[in-house]
């Protein structure tokens, strides 16, 4: 295989500007700003197709995190000294920037370690207000991060966990929703975009139905923030979580965003420094929201860096990033489909999916697929993608997944298709 030529293509060549499917071979967006994309893996230029696991980071983000440690490093909200004030400004600046990005005031943004810890905060924080026999509705396509915390609170509080099934096409079975939303339903938790099927769920529609029943709605936006254009209000949810590292930002940082009065309903789940107002030897009162949910020293370096990622996204515009991912996904669906013999999961229409495609080749187990692709410098994910119940319902223990970011181009999918052909040849297929 010969490729790698266009990796260093100048930023913004042939932008994806038009309708879905309009741009047949679009250029990479800002690829030259992502230092890791210049490296070789197993002697080949890296073809990174694992952005759903974590996106690569632009140099501006890496530089901002380094700058924080070189120039400002101090603890937040406690130092009276200059560095402490600067660190606090950077940390609070990130909170405001995230609020602006999603269209909510900064006071409704809680800084966490990631989507997982934010979901644990929502589940654990709502738990004490729920009564035995109350119901929680989750979907059959959730990542373990939006399933296991609910299993755990259900066990602890004696709640009933219900599951919204999927259609054969890999979408939520909305016909089953009225039956599953009962007078006891208190929480509906669903992902915005499935990390396996790619399906974009109609969150606003589900939220409206849930609200009519008096339930609160939790949306896992780990796969959508930074990839799909939307505001918090458009989704209509009460709680939204995401991780910075899947939106071109640093690891170890995530957010819980609450609707008006939604954070007030949560009990803190972590206790210690930073989250208190006054402490006596045997009692404490909580700090104001959102601080009462931020016990301990946070990841200030990551918070200092994340605004640079959001700036990069805004510079490209979410509309353009979305068109780009639709174009890549449509091309991947078409090429994988034409290969023959593969099972491809999720909706067939790229406009109804996020930028990822999971597939299964009966001739090559996903591990072997990922290993052989890696030998060509192509990074894909193989496994159950932290969604075992979903894989069980698909009838496989593992799938292979190719997922896209702004820096990918159609060439990368050509490399993937050639690579699958090579993997098949190893197994004599």
């Amino acid at each position: 295989m010969t490729r790698g030529d266009s990796l260093r293509a100048p930023a913004g060549v042939e932008p994806c500007a038009g309708q879905a499917g309009d741009c047949n071979r679009c250029g990479r967006i800002f690829a030259d700003r992502f230092p890791v994309l210049g490296r070789h893996v197993n002697g080949r230029p890296l073809v990174y197709l694992d952005s759903a696991a974590t996106t690569q980071k632009p140099g501006s983000v890496i530089a901002a995190e380094a700058r924080y440690y070189r120039e400002h490093n101090a603890n937040v909200h406690r130092g009276m000294h200059t560095l402490g004030v600067e660190a606090t400004d950077l940390y609070e600046g990130c909170r405001s920037r995230v609020g602006r990005f999603l269209g909510v005031p900064a006071e409704r943004v809680v800084v966490t370690r990631g989507a997982t810890s934010a979901l644990n905060l929502v589940a654990g924080g709502l738990g004490p207000s729920l009564r035995p026999g109350d119901e929680i509705l989750v979907t059959a396509m959730e990542h373990h991060a939006n399933l296991v915390p609910w299993i755990e609170v259900a066990r602890r509080e004696g709640l009933v966990l219900r599951h919204l099934p999927l259609t054969a096409g890999g979408e939520l079975d909305l016909d089953a929703l009225p039956r599953l939303l009962t007078a006891r339903t208190r929480v509906v938790a669903l992902t915005h975009v499935s990390n396996v099927l790619g399906t974009i769920n109609p969150v606003a529609e589900v939220a409206a139905a849930a609200h009519r029943r008096g339930a609160v709605v939790v949306v896992d936006a780990a796969q959508s923030v930074g990839h799909l254009p939307f505001t918090f209000d458009e989704l209509g949810a009460d709680y939204l979580v995401f991780s910075a590292h899947k939106a071109y930002g640093p690891m170890g940082l995530g957010f819980l965003v609450g609707g008006p009065d939604a954070l007030e309903r949560l009990q803190p789940v972590e206790f210690g420094g930073e989250m208190i107002e006054t402490v006596t030897l045997d009692g404490a009162t909580w700090a104001a929201i959102p601080y009462r949910f931020e016990a301990g020293t946070p990841n200030v370096g990551a918070a200092a860096a994340f605004p640079a990622a959001l700036d990069t996204i805004d510079e490209a515009t979410l509309q353009r990033l979305r068109q780009h991912e639709i174009s890549l996904t449509a091309y991947a669906l078409e090429r994988l489909g034409r290969l023959g013999g593969l099972t491809i999961y999720g909706p067939l229409d790229a406009a109804r999916r996020g930028g990822l495609v999971s597939f299964h080749d009966p001739m090559v187990h996903p591990h072997d697929m990922a290993q052989l692709l890696d030998s060509l410098g192509i990074a894909v994910r193989a496994g159950h993608h932290c969604a075992q119940p979903l894989h069980r319902s698909l009838g496989v223990v593992a799938t292979s997944r190719a997922s896209f970011g702004m820096y990918n181009a159609h060439d990368d999918i050509d490399a993937l298709i050639d690579g699958i052909g090579y993997a098949r040849s190893v197994f004599g297929a």
Binding site: H365, A382, H384, V397
Partner: protein, 158 residues
């Protein structure tokens, strides 16, 4: 093949993967049974053993796993037949040790057959668990030891 792939997917391994041994259900009663899982990837395996006169007479494996796990379970089925449970255990333990040692040597007196080829997988750390899954499941089946009590599922994380 490229970038060391011929070291991982050796011809012997591909052959076991293409026509795995031990896929036929045991003709007689099952004397020991265990299930194994690799939680990091979801691979699953069921192993059944038949014994007579103090020796393993046959093995039946159902493996939902990659080429390495499949080949390893095929090699296992081939190698355990005719061994005493003690000998089978010694082989499994020697293999586990070899997979975590730099030289990966299996003593000749273990009569390791194609297992020797499989020790090459230790150079691919992400795949060591795939090769070990059948053997860890074997240890668990031997622990259950024929008294009919099912073994706790074996896991590569233990």
């Amino acid at each position: 093949m490229n970038a060391g792939m011929d070291e991982l997917y050796r011809e012997v391994i591909l052959d076991h993967h293409r026509s795995p041994r031990g896929r036929e259900p045991l003709p007689g009663p099952v004397d020991a049974r265990a299930e194994g899982k690799n939680p990091s990837c979801g691979d699953e395996l069921v192993l059944e053993l038949a014994c007579a006169a103090g020796a393993i007479t046959g093995a039946h494996v159902e493996c939902r796993g990659c080429a390495i796990a499949t080949a390893s379970s095929s090699i296992l089925a081939e190698l355990v037949a005719g061994r005493t449970p003690q000998q089978a255990r010694a082989l499994a333990e020697a293999f586990r040790t070899a997979m975590h040692s730099p030289d990966g040597v299996l003593a000749d007196d273990l009569d390791p057959g194609d297992l020797e080829v499989l020790t090459g997988v230790r150079k691919f750390p992400a795949r060591v668990k795939c090769a070990l899954l059948p053997w860890i499941t074997l240890l668990s089946a031997l622990d259950a030891g024929g008294d009919g009590a099912p073994a706790a599922p074996a896991t590569t994380e233990a």
